[in-house]
């Protein structure tokens, strides 16, 4: 039994200092077998779809040198460990597990297959043969917030959350802070769907936000249903995970896209070269792991220029979504003036900033 607490420290600290894993290559001459485990269907047009796009990019980039496979809709729970084990046993030497709930299973199976490389998306536990990776989605949300500030008339904007976990909370806060650049007294309303993918509930949530007077909505869930709902009622919105522009040609102003391709290609190259090392990769706009699709024509040219400027500032680190002074709802300073929040503080963010009209459940 692995004691997680001893690992947590290592997970966030420097990557394990370990030479590349020898023997990670399947057999010399044979293709490197790579497997992907998805939590949803690849047809979700969101999270799992984007990971599968990354898989296809790996295939295209490496051709005969790799052979990929995937298992979709793997439930988080007792099943994940079996699927991972089957993948490792089938000779896959690089395995991507693309949901937080797979964490314990990844750690368990990785112990049994020390010369197989595992990469776990959105988790926080690492091991010599387990790396973690994630996207700085909050950077895209910050830009979305600025866009919302420019487009909203009612000073009330909406956010469809999946689960009240730090990833969502930092997104909501970044969105609010972004909007405050333009409208200092903006109000962000939040509806939790308690699912990553549930088109019915997502559409309901979008409608609930619009009923509450929001005239700009973004989503932290993966189906295009909120975009379709907003398009129907003529409300501005931003797509999530994949390019959702075609579901809201008039109203979807951009999409915050997760682009895993570059990370997958890089990791594959490292495993092929025998230089792979366990690391904690957290890429954002600068690394193009998070990408904003081209602005809709409905965004005025001057606003487009502002947004482009903001994106390049985030890329070259002259602007950070969480730069002080930032106050929480209670009015306490959480990021002092003149400083920028640390990654560790971001990853455990469990408070809303001022301007968010919601309380954290639980």
């Amino acid at each position: 039994m692995i004691d997680r607490r001893t690992l947590v420290g290592g997970g966030l600290a420097a990557p394990f200092l370990l030479g590349g894993l020898k023997g990670a290559r399947a057999q010399d001459g044979g293709p490197l077998k790579i497997a992907f485990m998805y939590v949803g269907p690849i047809g979700d047009l969101g999270w799992s779809y984007q990971h599968d796009q990354g898989r296809l990019a790996v295939e295209e980039h490496f051709g005969d040198k790799v052979q990929t496979s995937y298992v979709e809709s793997v439930p988080e729970g007792a099943d994940a460990e079996r699927v991972l084990r089957q993948m490792a046993q089938a000779g896959n030497k690089l395995i991507f597990a693309t949901s937080f709930g797979f964490m314990q299973a990844v750690i368990n199976v990785a112990k049994q297959f020390p010369d197989t490389v595992f990469e776990h998306c959105t988790g926080f536990q690492t091991a010599p043969n387990v790396g973690i990776y994630n996207g700085r989605f909050y950077e895209g949300r910050y830009v979305s917030g600025h866009l919302a500030g420019r487009m909203s008339q009612k000073k009330t904007i909406g956010y469809i959350g999946s689960f009240p976990i730090p990833e969502n909370i930092m997104g909501i806060n970044a969105y609010t802070l972004g909007a405050q650049r333009v409208i200092p007294d903006v109000t962000t309303k939040v509806v939790w769907v308690n699912s990553w993918y549930d088109p019915g509930k997502e559409a309901e949530a979008a409608n609930a936000l619009m009923d509450q007077g929001c005239d700009f909505i973004v989503q932290h869930t993966d189906s295009p249903a909120p975009v379709q709902a907003a398009e129907k009622r003529g409300v501005w919105c931003v797509g999530q995970a994949s390019d959702m522009g075609r579901f809201g040609p008039e109203r979807c102003l951009t999409s915050v896209v997760d682009d895993w391709a570059s990370h997958y290609i890089k990791s594959t190259q490292h495993v092929l070269d025998g230089t792979w090392q366990s690391e904690d990769y957290w890429g954002g706009l600068a690394e193009e792991s998070v990408v904003l699709t081209p602005w809709n024509d409905a965004v005025p040219a001057d606003v487009q220029a502002e947004l482009d400027q903001l994106v390049s500032e985030i890329k070259n680190k002259t602007t950070h979504p969480f730069q002080g002074e930032v106050k929480n709802q209670a009015g306490e300073v959480v990021v002092p003036a003149g400083t920028v929040i640390s990654d560790a503080d971001l990853l455990k963010m469990m408070y809303f900033v001022q301007g968010v009209d919601s309380t954290l459940p639980g």
């Binding site: 496979s69 988080e76 729970g77 007792a78 079996r82 314990q104 730090p166 455990k348 963010m349 639980g362």
Partner: protein, 354 residues
Amino acid sequence: MLRLTRRTNPSRSLEILAPLVAVALTLVVAAILFVALGKNPADAFAAMFWRPVQDLYGWSELGVKVAPLILCAVGLAIGFRASVWNIGAEGQIVVGAIAASWVALATGEGGFGLPGWLLPLLAGALGGMVWGAIPALLRTKANANEILVSLMLVYVGGFLLQYVVRGPMRDPMSFGFPQSPMFPDPARLPILLDTTRLHLGFALALLAALVAWLFVARSYQGFVFRLSGEAPAAAAYAGFSRAKVIWGSFLISGGLAGLAGAAEVLGPIGQLQPAVSPGYGFAAIIVAFLGRLHPIGIIAAALLMGLFYLGGEIAQMELQLPIAITGVFQGLLLFFLLGADTFVRWRLVLGGTR
């Protein structure tokens, strides 16, 4: 015109054969499907039905998968025979898992000289019983439809789980991620087979099937349950209490479902997570009917369903078949089973009215 007339004497052997016919028809249609998808049916069947169980480890994984299915289905079948429709085993699983987790975290190092897993396991069964008691109470006191009440309580149980993993039971070391701490080792169920994940829950499932069989086939109470379902008027005339049958059905099926949930978290999962069961409580309804509501049949049916799940994963990995294939298999099987059943009990007659 076609119409169905009831057979006066349905053949007993045909009744037993019907599931086999259904399985055979499922395989035939599946083979056609595989060809249509451009796959060699022999490869596909090998991936789905042979590869998952080609070694002992595979069998142990099948055991892990079927344990909750058997536990739930055996309990549900007792109620179904008595015409008590508990559709909410999924919720009882979840509440059982919550109760077991709570006790495991509170007492997990053991104590009272008992193994650390015993109290959590019992708490799980109790939690499932409590959740099952609600529809029983509302049925007997307010005549509320137990199908609807038990089904709706699934969602209530789901929200309860979402609440506890985010609130009172969240691991303070998990960076706000919704999950409980890992249970202490003594609270984890003993492993039956070294180097596998096959846990005590599987043995309990087989034991439950045996006890259920003795109960239904050999005990006086079992007779009362059956009579109450098959001939309610006669049962009432004989003075048997319908309320007792309803309560008994829900407490047994709820308790076993709670036990299944407890065994999942104390066994393979090792902590309380927002997702405990991928729908075992609902799949168990299919398993119960596929197994003819008979404990031995249920074990066979659970093994078959479990194989569909495991084989579906391998078919995805090796043949790039879509995951929908698992659902299609289950659907086909249920369809043909219901069809075969119909023809065992009814006859197709050509011609007009009688």
